[in-house]
Symmetry: D2
Subunit: 358 residues, 4 copies
Amino acid sequence: MHAGGFYSAGSREGTKKQSTMRGYKKPTVSIIGASGYSGAELAKILLRHPSVKLERLYAHTQAGKKMQDIYPAIDTDIVLESYGGATDSDIYFLALPHGEALKLLPSLAEAGKTVIDLSGDFRLKNHEEHLKFYSREKDPAAVLTYAMPELYHDDIRLAKVVSNPGCYATSIILGIAPLVKKPVKDASVTSVCCTAISGLSGAGKSAKVELSFSEMSGNVRAYKAGMHQHTPEILQALDTDTLNPAFNFMFTPMIAPLVRGIYTVLNIQLEKHLTVSQIREHFREFYRSAPFVRIRNTMTEVQHVAYTNFCDIHIAESSENGTAVIITAIDNLVKGAAGQAVQNMNIMLGYDETLGIL
Amino acid sequence: MHAGGFYSAGSREGTKKQSTMRGYKKPTVSIIGASGYSGAELAKILLRHPSVKLERLYAHTQAGKKMQDIYPAIDTDIVLESYGGATDSDIYFLALPHGEALKLLPSLAEAGKTVIDLSGDFRLKNHEEHLKFYSREKDPAAVLTYAMPELYHDDIRLAKVVSNPGCYATSIILGIAPLVKKPVKDASVTSVCCTAISGLSGAGKSAKVELSFSEMSGNVRAYKAGMHQHTPEILQALDTDTLNPAFNFMFTPMIAPLVRGIYTVLNIQLEKHLTVSQIREHFREFYRSAPFVRIRNTMTEVQHVAYTNFCDIHIAESSENGTAVIITAIDNLVKGAAGQAVQNMNIMLGYDETLGIL
Amino acid sequence: MHAGGFYSAGSREGTKKQSTMRGYKKPTVSIIGASGYSGAELAKILLRHPSVKLERLYAHTQAGKKMQDIYPAIDTDIVLESYGGATDSDIYFLALPHGEALKLLPSLAEAGKTVIDLSGDFRLKNHEEHLKFYSREKDPAAVLTYAMPELYHDDIRLAKVVSNPGCYATSIILGIAPLVKKPVKDASVTSVCCTAISGLSGAGKSAKVELSFSEMSGNVRAYKAGMHQHTPEILQALDTDTLNPAFNFMFTPMIAPLVRGIYTVLNIQLEKHLTVSQIREHFREFYRSAPFVRIRNTMTEVQHVAYTNFCDIHIAESSENGTAVIITAIDNLVKGAAGQAVQNMNIMLGYDETLGIL
Amino acid sequence: MHAGGFYSAGSREGTKKQSTMRGYKKPTVSIIGASGYSGAELAKILLRHPSVKLERLYAHTQAGKKMQDIYPAIDTDIVLESYGGATDSDIYFLALPHGEALKLLPSLAEAGKTVIDLSGDFRLKNHEEHLKFYSREKDPAAVLTYAMPELYHDDIRLAKVVSNPGCYATSIILGIAPLVKKPVKDASVTSVCCTAISGLSGAGKSAKVELSFSEMSGNVRAYKAGMHQHTPEILQALDTDTLNPAFNFMFTPMIAPLVRGIYTVLNIQLEKHLTVSQIREHFREFYRSAPFVRIRNTMTEVQHVAYTNFCDIHIAESSENGTAVIITAIDNLVKGAAGQAVQNMNIMLGYDETLGIL
């Protein structure tokens, strides 16, 4: 595999977008990996999207079945196919297990397609971290624009091939970024303790005893404490060295008995005490052009964002000694995956960012 | 395999029981199949039982692990073993997948052990039905005492080897038996429509996508409508021909998002209208010596019986044209499996029926 | 209150509809009773509806609050108001507790508004049954078109004021109607045993211990067996006398630990045995122009219809002696309330029936 | 009210205990506040306890009802009474809303009864904190022995009247105490970030919309961030000034869709890096005579401790810069309330600490 020019932001020739948009037909979309939860959520959103046409659904293990037989709540007659290299759609979403996009993305990118990859395959710039967390050899240069619209809107707009952020990473980065990327005076961040609760759809559609209803009803379980693959992704997006970060970063992910949602509690140590309202106003200012980030005065809850593309953020507390408690909530399948991916598509196609996801 | 005398009730020589009980030591117990939910529930109950000693836990796939590592809520140091034919305990519970008890039970029975089998292997007298529902060849005579204490207390008391009822069967038979086994005047039963909701522990500890939390949260699903293996068991216990029953019997089992419990709604058509209070008094009289059956004036609920050995029964309605609506609730792992099995052990050993399970 | 002409179907003058549709502006909509679950679901659907404009939300107890503060997942700036008799919108949805619509609907109807009432206030033709189940005096003639689109499409199309069906009633009527309204040869229905499981949103947004998470997690509970107010509604829609029905009808509703959905098991006794495929084809034919009824070959599940306006129907079994087991599933808040109400609005306005709800 | 000698540990004359134990009768027990979840859990445990006799259950609002009618899973014929000052039992458990024990405890204590109070009324030594968090005037000296057996075993053994710890406090204190009370060399604690997820039974048996199944299913919500009444209790038990603690302490409690359990993640900043195994061995040593604390090598889960009196602790991570991640799990109704209360009773009566709760 050759790491071509498409890996870097801004590589897209303007004309390509034009040609897609100039005609009278809506751009066509394919989803590769349509049978998992993120793929299905993508299908549901794209079927209702007013300005693209969902054309093909690929899912190797379910090829030949109707999508509706697997997800009866999704109203479509499209039949799942095995992906064999087709490039007939204008836009490709890759919702594949980690490692699979590595094989398929380059040829799609080279064919000039608009590609949004939901896997972690092309997210990490630090190659050692990539190998450590994803265990897949690849061209170290094969890293894509990290498509978090609230932070990299312009890069996304110019890119043809992007990497969609991880679900935990989305909920965490958005809750820290304003304090790290644009610190308030001397109040720089010295440490972050993060605990996050994920709904079980985050573990994918899989046959595992420990994910069964009988095992998870009434249960809570942490896992991968200090070892989650989203840690380097978070640090990278916060502009700090992933191996030697500018601030101490601790992350404990947990699963609890809910299907959708990530609820994140951030204890952020600042060098200087800021009041809750100072922090809140700073966040409001930072996200003033972000249509999906809501800085809320009252406590966030998972049900406030479930089935939506919102990321809700509440500044819960700020102690005298400078620890701010910030709580964020997203739907892991929407803002944490499919919704953010369509948001990115909208930006890449020059559409209104909220089209089809508000 | 030779179907020996142990298959019929009353075959036990009185002396065996005596020798077990005469000494100063508590009888010892082993569980074969201790790693599933029924086996674990048995272990939990037997560890607290005041008059037996839990000695060995067998589980082929988990051999070598401590029981407490698999079920940390169960406080014991016993290590799981692979069962190799030992007969050193006085009492054996078999909590194995259907088909497995067929191989192990005969030698335990012939060694004179007290055996309670929780599988369906030895329940059905009609051999064709056995083959149809359990698909295992066996000696057609190999049928054990059907150990439902409320109906066959004396047989159980005299037996050394018994078959513990199925969970759905328990919840259904107890709700119909008084009207079929001892009909009120001319009010014989002409048809029964039965729907029953089971907790997901009834499906066992298994790795299946369709039993995952993500698939079952917020979901309800019927299955095996008209084809459940408990249907012949129910009809047999109600003294009617399983292939040509005296009354029409329809059964639709369902799973819903709970772990424990079976909630059964019976629409029983009688030839004559009986009032709710007539039926209630008839049930009270029928079950007057059954310590675990409670005829309740108010609506039954699963939470009223969860983690108990009770079967609660409520006569909800009786229409003018003779349809009685009777609702029963049990905990599928206790009264529907492990609790009833210990109740049977108590009876077989001459103990108070409620010892260790009230 | 005077029971004017608007209570009977067909009373609408054609011109009114025209005037609404002829102009360039979308018709405007108000919801009275917007703070309950059905009202909120209506708001969510109507905000995305392409051909009407949601204008006002009324909710007495929450007046002054922003809708989004109560339901943060619903993206709107509309502030809840107390309803004081305004008639400035073109269309009114009433999602009020039983008894409240009695007071408000007449003046809206007389003002010529398109009105869809989600309560039971105007459903029952038999006045005694109305008094028995709803305990509210009213003009016995005040009964509206029963707006179940699959059965009364033409009446709805011609009506300006309709009564939206109840949630249980929807799930039950759709599963029986083909066999009662258009019986297959001699196979008329002689009795129906119905058990239905409802999600807890069906009990409304209310502060009750018995509806708390701690009481309902892991629980199942029947209630109102034989006494549910939907029974006369069902019988009336099936064209039989509610007090002296042509077939025996038993109904046991239950609640289980899910939020959305009604799962209904119908044991329908026919005078003659029909095969599963005969019944299935009959249902397919009966519902061939009903875009939201799906006759499925495989088992229905609540998750297949959750968050959709579909009613899924599966013919699960048909015994030799003529008992058919038919299972239906709907989302109680969508097809059982808000979705069906918008479907009715679409029909009344001459829109495509599926607009905004597919 | 006069703050008599009973408020301080060690005030009990040895003879009292003797007289209780010398006779042949089991000591008798009453529960005041038996209709809430903690009271019911106490009743369940005490009914099975081999060495005390549960005699009376008091519950003002439910007086006259049988306990079994309110909690059908609890098998007893005891009828609930209104408490009018009786002192005929030997032991009293008070499971009342905060503020109620203030009124009842003194006369029980002065009558020489063994009293275990589950409320927060007598926990805080700092009177200002008491007023701030419990808003009840009382004698500032009225503070009882803080009955956490793992820390204050000897004080409890000598006391006749004790205050049972709060549920969150139990789960948090046990996870920090070894590092604060007996620091490893120079590794003193400089800050603690604590997030804890509680089951909804912790909110009591109450009629609130926000605790309904429909609102909490699929939801997570933090509350009282930085303002929970257990914060001063925790600091006090950790021997530091509650207003000016020796280490920074942040606490964010949350509720999630489970009934039982508290799952606590502690990020503890130490002045020096200790390895996971150093911390683990230190905890094992610290708790070596605590029968209910288990230091586990593998991840803790709520289901490992649900329905048990165990507190499981897992050292999940220890970063190079000295942040240790420690995770604890308890059942809030057992180790967090009723179980710990019986453990205390066992100690106060000179019984084996585990009697009736293992």
